[in-house]
């Protein structure tokens, strides 16, 4: 039998096997190709685009309800106020070119010539009057709490007007930095989802649900054009994701860094970490709604508990030196702030005092919202351990953002003893913070708006007197007095003022981080 000849394909002939081999190779290439992208930066912004990664969702570019520091940077790039707080915590003129106290209860204001919105329409006195009315109608507004009273607008010309108050308001120029001006017709007593602004950028794309915005240069901007063409704002809640995204070049700037993230980023090539003193006070505030006879209603018990807290260890080890232990009731970086005392760590004394006051079997419930301040969970767990060392049995309850902690704070939900809370002063003034925290009245408390139930009429009267004092030196003296008086009530178990921390890629130049944890987007330029 003749064997079947083995057929050898001619060179260059495409066999079925060859096709299968090449297909398999191609398929593997397609499948594995995307993996190679993992080795390098992904989704890097373009050369003219600045990408910001915020850790809290920017649900609106209006600040009526959404007022956290990092948001201010973006909000003011679109909407502007008559003034702003400058790098030295002094007020600077923005939409106004004159803002002077001409009477104790009246300020003369003149709008800058040529200021207009991104559609070219002019900013008018009516817009200012409407803005003030709308801010005044928003329930639960943090900003409203900063104003002892809202001024009324009295037009005196096409560009000039008087801001009148019933009582002297010597810091009105600073407070007005928080009132963003929008065309009167478009303004509503709620957070605006759209609308025009007079800022250097305009919104070209917005997804408020996801907290993502794309801003483009406002070509009709009345001032100096910003250098960066496009700004992308992204909401990245996970701190570790923000750090990884910055390292890979996906984000250009991440703000409000935790101390541990800063530690990971310091010294990395291509990344710079910036810090500044902070104007935010983070505190473990007592519940002042306790009935008479409750141990926490006694300032001596509150003071005794403070001896249990090792503030130096918390600052050095947990917060890795990115905060300063409070030496007053407000951060000392604020104008008008004075040192009133220091926290001492002496667990033996704490035990002895608590025993002598009959509070040695004290149980405390500590509540806070995640992300209220950097390193919150570590601080709280360390606190628990320190309290246990002096025989105080404490329990923690952590609320997730968006939960109902507001009801708890207002005394409308469960019972608690200490709350972890952060409070900042967007005006750079001690007075504003003091009024917000310690200016509680019985009337405010009826609606739960007194800060943690802190209603001490003597303090409130002192604060009101200081707030209406038009002489700067006298006001500062009165403020110093009231701060000492507040300290003597021992409102906090412990408190600290965190520094503001921000990390940026080195291609971002000109970023000047301010103490109010904000920066001017128009000053930024991109290199490379």
């Amino acid at each position: 039998m003749t064997p079947t000849p083995h057929r050898v394909p001619p060179p260059g002939h495409l066999t079925r096997r060859t096709v299968l081999r090449w297909s398999a190779l191609g398929g593997a290439g397609v499948a594995l190709g995307p993996l190679s992208a993992c080795a390098g930066p992904t989704g890097a912004p373009g050369p003219g685009t600045l990408t910001l990664g915020l850790n809290r969702s920017l649900v609106s570019l209006d600040n009526k309800l959404n007022q956290f520091e990092a948001a201010v940077t973006v909000q003011r790039a679109v909407r502007q106020a008559l003034t702003r707080i400058g790098p030295d915590l002094e007020p600077q003129l923005v939409l106004a070119d004159r803002f002077e106290m001409t009477e104790p209860t009246a300020w003369t204001v003149r709008l800058r010539e040529g200021v207009c919105y991104s559609d070219g329409s002019p900013v008018t006195v009516e817009d200012v009057a409407t803005a003030l009315r709308m801010y005044g109608k928003v329930p639960g507004s943090f900003l409203l709490g900063l104003f002892p009273e809202l001024p009324t607008v009295e037009a005196t010309g096409e560009r000039t007007f008087l801001l009148r108050t019933e009582r002297p308001l010597p810091v009105l120029d600073r407070l007005m930095a928080n009132i963003h001006i929008t065309p009167a017709k478009a303004n509503r007593p709620e957070e605006l989802r759209s609308g025009l602004g007079s800022g250097p950028y305009r919104v070209v794309r917005a997804n408020s649900g996801a907290g993502e915005y794309t801003l483009a240069r406002n070509t009709r901007y009345w001032g100096r054009q910003p250098s960066v063409e496009k700004v992308q704002v992204r909401f990245v809640p996970e701190e570790s994701s923000r750090v990884v995204a910055l390292r890979s070049g996906e984000l250009d700037v991440v703000d409000t860094l935790t101390p541990d993230s800063a530690e990971q980023l310091i010294g990395l090539p291509g990344v710079t970490v910036q810090e500044n003193v902070g104007v935010r006070m983070c505190q473990l505030f007592y519940n002042f709604r306790k009935p008479k006879g409750h141990p926490l209603a006694d300032p001596r018990v509150r003071q005794a508990l403070t001896y249990a807290i090792d503030g130096t260890a918390l600052v050095d080890d947990v917060l890795t030196g990115t905060a300063e232990e409070a030496r007053g009731v407000v951060p000392l970086a604020l104008q008008g702030a004075v040192q009133t005392g220091t926290y001492a760590f002496d667990p033996g004394r704490a035990r002895q005092l608590l025993r002598s006051l009959g509070a040695d079997d004290l149980r405390l419930k500590v509540i806070w919202e995640s992300g209220e301040f950097a390193g919150d969970t570590s601080v709280m767990e360390a606190l628990l351990d320190m309290l246990q060392d002096v025989g105080v049995r404490a329990s923690l309850q952590q609320f997730q953002p968006g939960g109902d902690i507001l009801k708890w704070r207002q005394g409308r939900a469960g019972n608690w003893d200490v709350i972890g809370n952060g409070y900042s002063s967007p005006t750079g003034q001690a007075l504003t913070m003091l009024q917000g925290m310690y200016g509680g009245t019985a009337e405010k408390e009826r609606t739960g708006d007194a800060f943690m139930g802190y209603v001490i009429p003597r303090i409130e009267r002192q604060l009101s007197a200081a707030a209406t004092e038009v002489d700067d030196a006298e006001r500062d003296r009165r403020l110093a007095e009231v701060q000492h008086a507040v300290w003597d009530t021992w409102p906090s178990l412990w408190a600290f003022a965190p520094k503001t921390l921000l990390a940026r890629r080195d291609r971002v130049q000109g970023l000047a981080l301010q103490a109010i944890n904000s920066y001017d987007l128009t000053a930024i330029r991109l290199e490379g």
């Binding site: 990884v244 541990d260 080890d317 360390a382 329990s395 923690l396």
Partner: protein, 299 residues
């Protein structure tokens, strides 16, 4: 044609052939799975169970001056966490919470699943329709979302989380039990029991359930791994028991902020979870493989 047969064996099948046979390989594989699963599970479960008597620092004992020490540091096999707590101690004590939740959850889900599935399969009719529609409806819901919703409504506590996971897992047991009972109820011994005058409930409880409980309990064992993973996922997402309870999910969640500088805070607890889940799954697979031929013989 005749085949030469060796003197000692009345068959042409040699010992080597037997060793290479599929059945032998399957049996060997099952034994291997069983051993590997048992070892992996024991490596996690034994230290977790004995955490209280092992010479370890307390899970919540802090030493802020010894933060984030790497593994094999003095006195800390797994290193320390961001508050200077011994990571091994936290993982083991956290495992007690995670395992307790997992075991309780699968026990409850197993009981509910076996009872509901057996009733549905044995009685049929409207009971079957109700149970089947219930479990189909529940299987159609996204599990994690449902768990998060319930925890958000009732608050995060060990009891709530255990109940939630138990309620989430009963459909799988019920579905399997129902199918097993459908087969069993047609067998002669069931008819014999009925002829002898036993009531339906007695037949189900005394004769049918004991015959299906073994394969059903294997599924329950496999669900243990899923329950531990679910508990860890809830804790990771912040819906676990309140602090300072250490749970595996929370240890990993807290450690992720340090992933680039302190790898052990995430990696080591993650490995422990993986070891337990792989171990329990291998154990369940091995036991299932071993019970299959026997049930075949019985049938």
């Amino acid at each position: 044609m005749t085949t030469a047969v060796s003197a000692g064996r009345p068959s042409a099948v040699t010992a080597r052939d037997l060793a290479r046979a599929t059945a032998t390989r399957q049996r060997r594989g099952a034994r291997l799975k069983l051993w590997a699963g048992a070892i992996c599970t024991a490596l996690v479960v034994l230290p977790v169970t004995l955490a209280g008597v092992l010479p370890l620092p307390g899970a919540n004992t802090q030493d802020l001056s010894r933060r984030r020490l790497p593994p094999l540091s003095e006195g800390h096999l797994f290193g320390t966490d961001q508050l200077g707590r011994d990571l091994l101690s936290r993982v083991l004590h956290g495992g007690q919470v995670s395992l307790a939740v997992g075991v309780l959850a699968v026990l409850v889900s197993g009981l509910i699943g076996i009872a509901a599935g057996a009733a549905a399969g044995f009685f049929g009719g409207w009971i079957d329709a109700v149970v089947s529609r219930f479990l189909e409806a529940q299987l159609a819901l996204p599990l994690l979302m449902m768990l998060l919703l319930v925890v958000a409504l009732f608050g995060p506590s060990v009891t709530v989380i255990t109940c939630v996971i138990a309620l989430a897992q009963w459909p799988e047991v019920a579905r399997l039990t129902r199918s097993l009972v459908l087969v069993e109820r047609e067998k002669a011994y069931v008819a014999a029991a009925r002829v002898l005058g036993l009531r339906s409930w007695s037949v189900l409880a005394r004769h049918v359930i004991p015959n299906v409980v073994r394969p059903a309990s294997l599924v329950v064992l496999l669900l243990l791994a899923q329950a531990v993973l679910l508990e860890s996922a809830l804790s990771f997402l912040g819906a676990g028991p309140q602090r300072p309870f250490a749970t595996w999910g929370r240890i990993i969640s807290d450690g992720q902020d340090y992933i680039t500088t302190s790898w052990w805070l995430v990696t080591l607890p993650g490995l422990v979870i993986a070891l337990l889940v792989v171990g329990v799954n291998l154990l369940g697979d091995g036991l299932r493989d071993r019970t299959r031929p026997r049930s075949g013989k019985g049938a």
